[in-house]
């Protein structure tokens, strides 16, 4: 019962928060970008006529095609690449605002297990991301309809929905480490720097044989950000992601429970 009250309190904290609307606005922007790219593939002459692409340019972006498959591939990539950045910003905001707004001391001195706050915040973030993901799926269907791609195959829609959900779940597993960096530094800047560095590491390591063992590369492999999307992720990679999530969660809880709050 107490945990549900903490969860309700964490949801209440987001009321009138500008970031909730901004995150959806970012996803609208991502969708428009995807639509724009598919439109250019579909109408290369019109795009050339508008000066949007060079006369000799061609679209060889991971073999993208102007059909439902191509559109869905773009949206999965957006779900991973955009999701990693947007979700990190959400995590940094949800955990970091307590320090930026000076409310951490009010929260941590309450007779409530501190682990409840960490888990409740992660639940709220997960819920937020689920809504964003659902929005992204709906947006992809709307985009296909607006681009006149015809009726999609139900199996294709189901497959793409599953892909986006898996990609989103994988992105979520990396966020507990962002939460740990946020509470450990009590700032917005350090975890944002951490996010940028891990994105770079992920993109560098993806070209090596170690990619399946580096959490930030596994996400990129799944999202097909640097080549054809990898479907056959090893069990070892899944364990790496689970361990990453566990480490971040334990670190965040232990930090909240044991460190001094001198804010």
């Amino acid at each position: 019962m107490t945990f549900l009250k903490v969860l309700a309190a964490e949801l209440l904290k987001l009321r009138r928060s500008k970031l909730t609307w901004l995150s959806f606005a970012f996803y609208v922007f991502f969708g428009l970008m995807a639509c724009f790219v598919v439109w250019m593939i579909k109408n290369p002459e019109a795009a050339r006529g508008l000066g949007l692409i060079g006369a000799k340019a061609s679209f060889a972006l991971n073999g993208l095609t102007a059909d439902w498959q191509g559109l869905f591939t773009m949206f999965v990539e957006l779900g991973v690449a955009g999701g990693m950045i947007i979700l990190s910003i959400i995590v940094i905001y949800v955990f970091g605002r307590e320090y930026a707004e000076g409310t951490a001391k009010n929260m941590l001195a309450l007779p409530v297990p501190r682990s409840y706050f960490v888990v409740a915040k992660l639940c709220v973030i997960a819920l937020w991301f689920v809504l964003l993901t659902a929005f992204l799926i709906a947006e992809s269907l709307l985009a296909g309809w607006l681009l006149g791609l015809g009726r999609p195959q139900p199996a294709l829609v189901a497959g793409q929905t599953l892909d986006i959900l898996i990609a989103s779940a994988v992105v979520l597993t990396l966020q507990s480490l962002v939460a740990w960096v946020t509470v450990a530094t009590g700032s917005y800047l350090a975890p944002f720097g951490y996010t940028i560095v891990t994105l770079l590491i992920g993109n560098l390591m993806i070209r090596t044989d170690w990619a399946r063992w580096v959490p930030w590369s596994i996400v990129a492999l799944l999202g097909g950000m640097t080549g054809p999307r990898q479907e056959d992720i090893l069990l070892g990679s899944v364990l790496v992601l689970a361990a990453t999530f566990g480490l971040g969660l334990a670190g965040t809880i232990l930090h909240q429970a044991r460190s001094d709050n001198c804010q």
Binding site: L12, E101, T103, N106, A109, P111, V112
Partner: protein, 303 residues
């Protein structure tokens, strides 16, 4: 035997080489208002944070209503309302929503929010976002938050911070009323006149050590009495008082005044000695040092 509201033994906190709090023993009885005084950096806020479990002591034990804060933090803090340093709230939420948040987390009845709003005269601002409140009203909101669950102990760090004079008087009245209802209040304040008027007992912390505890009933005995005199020839008067009465604690005070702190001589002795020496006595006034002067003396005497 009834347990104390707060009981701290050998409380210490080191930040690396810095000893912020050094073996403080503190007993706050149920129902009393305890004023906790100290200069900036004396260890007040660190002590308050330790009492609320925000900082882990390097040594010592804290019990709140008999419950060990180290072993049973949740039980110990259940009856505590608090305000630590600056007043803070979630800026995107209204006054009412901020209090609702606290009500949820403290499992208080629904009516508690409206009661707290009324108690702190926040009705006019109840639906205003806390980001748009003045500093004084933010302070009221923080006090309301501390009171939402009707705690038995209030730990308040600078409760009058940001309030205007009328607000200070109002909060003073509220704290006195709460104390009369049996709520224990542990408060720190830079406004010594406030503490002087409110506190039943006063603790002075200096450089991490609790250097003095004053009981209001016995405060007169601990405070120093001065005698201030104005004379026409202060140099001559000073030598007369030193030679004839053997007074040592004399200080010059303006062009014609002297302040005499020796308890060895009464006003009559001083007046007689000066008149007999042909010195014109223009003013002789026994003065009791106020809390501010007492605080300054205690903290200045200890390097």
């Amino acid at each position: 035997m009834m347990t104390n509201a707060i009981s701290a033994q050998g409380l210490a906190k080191n930040f690396g080489e810095v000893k912020a709090v050094k073996k403080v023993d503190l007993e706050v009885r149920r129902g009393e208002i305890y004023g906790f005084l100290g200069r900036n950096g004396a260890g007040k806020t660190t002590s308050i944070r330790m009492l609320l479990g925000l900082i882990r002591p390097s040594a010592g034990e804290i019990a709140i209503f008999g419950e060990s804060l180290r072993k049973r933090r949740l039980a110990a803090l259940k009856q505590v309302g608090f305000l630590v340093e600056s007043a803070t709230a979630y800026p995107n939420l209204t006054v009412r929503e901020n209090l609702e948040l606290q009500r949820l987390l403290m499992d208080a009845p629904k009516a508690a929010v409206e009661n707290a709003i009324k108690l702190l005269s926040l009705e006019e601002y109840a639906d205003r976002k806390s980001a748009h409140l003045s500093l004084g009203n933010k302070q009221r909101l923080s006090l309301a938050r501390a009171l939402v669950h009707s705690p038995e102990l209030l730990v308040l760090d600078e409760p009058a911070n940001g309030l205007d004079p009328a607000g200070i008087v109002e909060i003073r009245g509220l704290l006195r009323k709460l104390a009369d209802e049996g709520i224990t209040i542990f408060m720190s304040s830079h406004i010594l006149a406030e503490v002087d008027q409110l506190a039943d007992r006063i603790g002075i912390i200096h450089e991490g050590s609790l250097v003095e505890e004053l009981d209001r009933k016995k405060l007169g005995g601990r405070k120093r009495l001065w005698i201030e005199v104005d004379v026409d020839r202060p140099d001559r008067a000073e030598s007369i008082l030193r030679e004839r009465l053997g007074l040592r604690e004399l200080s010059r005070h303006g062009e014609r005044g002297m302040r005499i702190a020796d308890a060895g001589a009464g006003s009559g002795d001083i007046a007689q000695a000066l008149v007999e020496a042909g010195i014109r006595l223009e003013r002789l006034l026994p003065v009791e040092e106020n809390l501010e002067e007492h605080f300054m003396r205690i903290t200045e005497e200890r390097p």
